[in-house]
Amino acid sequence: MTDMTIVQCTHCGSRNRIRPHSNHMSPVCGRCGSPLVGYCLKQSGISRRLSTGMIKLIGILLFLLIPIVCYGIVITPRWLSKDFSDLPAAEAESTSRFRAEQEETLAKLEAKLQQELAQIDSMELNGIASAQYHNSMNARLSYDKKYALTPREKAQLSMLNLAKDSTRSYHEAIKAVATEAAPNGSNIRVTESLGQIGLHIDFDMSSMTSGEHGTSTKHDTIDSLRKEVVVLISKVTNDVFLFCKDLELETIHVACKHHVQTTRPDGTTSVENTLLYKILVHRNRMPKLSNNPFLDLYSTTEYLQVEEDNFEELEIIRTRI
């Protein structure tokens, strides 16, 4: 107990007993927990004096550091701040250079377009377009196969080729063209008498129009049936005329047939493929035939000579279930 030292706390003033202890330990006040500085000072006279000096020195240093730090705060922006004032100017210059380039490009384009515009000559264009339409029409007039789009045009092309075929005999050529021109299943004959060639075509009405099947017809009246037959005959005549006109035919005979139920005087009936209407076109009238595919009735019928007309003997009977 004799080794114990009494040290008064500089903070709360309470007296503390302290045993001898190693140097790395720091005693604290038992009441307030403050370090017992006085103890250290009491260790020895030399260390006490040293500690006090150190503390004062540290205090002075710390105190001196304050203005240094403050000075640092003030001076740091000058050291660290970089000058970027050139950058916006450089960017602005780059932008203006870019603008100038773009404006130049635009001006060049405008000049080019103006030049192109100045070179447009509507009269010249008109000439080119007219020539193009004219060439196209000429190609059509010479039956250029690229314009043969519809089945009818394809058939016409085929007829033209047959008419021009020099390997066939005269009769064969006429028959071949007529076969192409006439409806499917037509009966075609080429006759020759005193050097005059006649072409005979008998076709079934059902092969050219819908609604005609066996003895049945879509027509309600004989008049309507007759009109359609005349139109069909005109159509066939036009086709034959158009492609046989260079074959020096003397006459063209076209007949339309239909299945008809015939009642005989004795009451018996039979179904026969009967000729309804037959026309004839003479050579001297053929040049007058104008070929308008849209107006067959008008352009053709006035030049047709009727050979047979059996409509008067017909009667249409309607049946229904």
Binding site: L62, F84, P88, L117, I128, Q156, P293, R320
Partner: protein, 320 residues
């Protein structure tokens, strides 16, 4: 000791401020150049977009001026269009010359006969030949000598005026349509039936249209009434009609299921020719084994156009 603490605190505060200041400055140094460059780039991008817009406007303006420079009038410009076919020429000139609500088609027959079909809209009455002739003048002037004929169709797709080449030539030479020419145009128009619609007469019962239908099978032709049903995809015929027109074995025939008002219905499918007012079509027909109802479905009208005139109880049909 208190003084030490005070000094420490006073020192700590400027130290923290200094640190923040340093960090701020370093960050500013690092980010400022890229920020300025980004702003510059954005400005140039805006500029580029602005110039692109100007370029587009310039080209558009040029195209317009180029088009206008190809001719004095719209007709001249259409005529002068390069690489255009005669069909396109007639079609474009006619579209320009005719009222906007009218439509037109060009048909070519036998290589060289160009026919212009003028189709009046469904809500317009027949227009007089003299008025049509006024619209035709620029067409005739610019499509000469290619246009052969002009046919005018009414709202039921029936031709009622036909201007042949002779009349078109007369109009081109400044002539007017006299009464005699109008009569000829009308007469030809009535007789020109090539592209006309076919009128299928109907019988109206409780707002339903019934059509007199010819059914042609392998063994016979039978006429019956069928309901016009725009909601039926397939034509349906009763088993009575089917057996009367052919000897199909309905038990082995392929079947198809239909959604009907009375639920799902499975029907055998056979082929028959169906003829309505002369329009004969070979189509698939569903056999109705449940009742005697016959329906004309939409498969009959495939490849055709039609107008239903419920007031006149008829259907106008023509080929597309």
């Amino acid at each position: 000791m208190r003084i030490f603490r005070l000094i420490g605190l006073v020192l700590l505060l400027p130290l923290v401020v200094w640190g923040i200041e340093v960090l701020y400055l370093l960050q500013r140094n690092a980010s400022t150049p890229s920020k300025i460059q980004t702003q510059g780039k954005a400005g140039r991008t805006r500029l580029m977009a602005e110039f692109k817009g100007k370029e587009r406007d310039l080209v558009r303006d040029y195209e317009q001026r180029k088009y206008l420079a190809t001719g004095e009038t719209a007709y001249d410009r259409i005529f002068n269009t390069q690489g255009q076919t005669i069909n396109q020429l007639i079609q474009c000139i006619a579209t320009e010359a005719l009222p906007k609500t009218w439509s037109c088609e060009v048909q070519v027959e036998e290589f060289t006969h160009f026919l212009l079909l003028i189709l009046l809209p469904h809500n317009e009455e027949r227009v007089a030949a003299t008025r049509i002739a006024v619209h035709l003048k620029p067409i005739i002037a610019y499509c000469n000598p290619y246009l052969s004929d002009v046919a005018v169709f009414d709202r039921n797709h029936k031709s009622y005026l036909f201007f042949d080449q002779e009349i078109l030539e007369h109009l081109r030479n400044g002539g007017n349509l006299t009464d005699a020419l109008v009569a000829k145009v009308e007469h030809q128009g009535r007789s020109f039936t090539r592209f006309n619609s076919t009128t299928i007469p109907c019988e109206k019962h409780e707002s339903h249209l019934f059509l007199s239908t010819e059914v042609i099978g392998p063994s016979a032709l039978v006429t019956c009434y069928a309901l016009f049903d725009t909601g039926a995809s397939t034509t349906v015929l009763s088993s009575e009609v089917i057996t009367a027109t052919g000897n199909d074995d309905l038990t082995t025939a392929p079947k198809r299921t239909f959604q009907t008002a009375n639920g799902l219905l499975s029907c055998p499918i056979v082929r028959r020719e169906v003829n309505l007012a002369g329009i004969r079509r070979n189509i698939e027909v569903a056999v109705n084994q449940r009742d005697e109802v016959n329906l004309i479905g939409m498969n009959y009208f495939s490849g055709l156009k039609y107008i239903v005139d419920s007031e006149a109880s008829c259907i106008h049909v023509w080929e597309k």
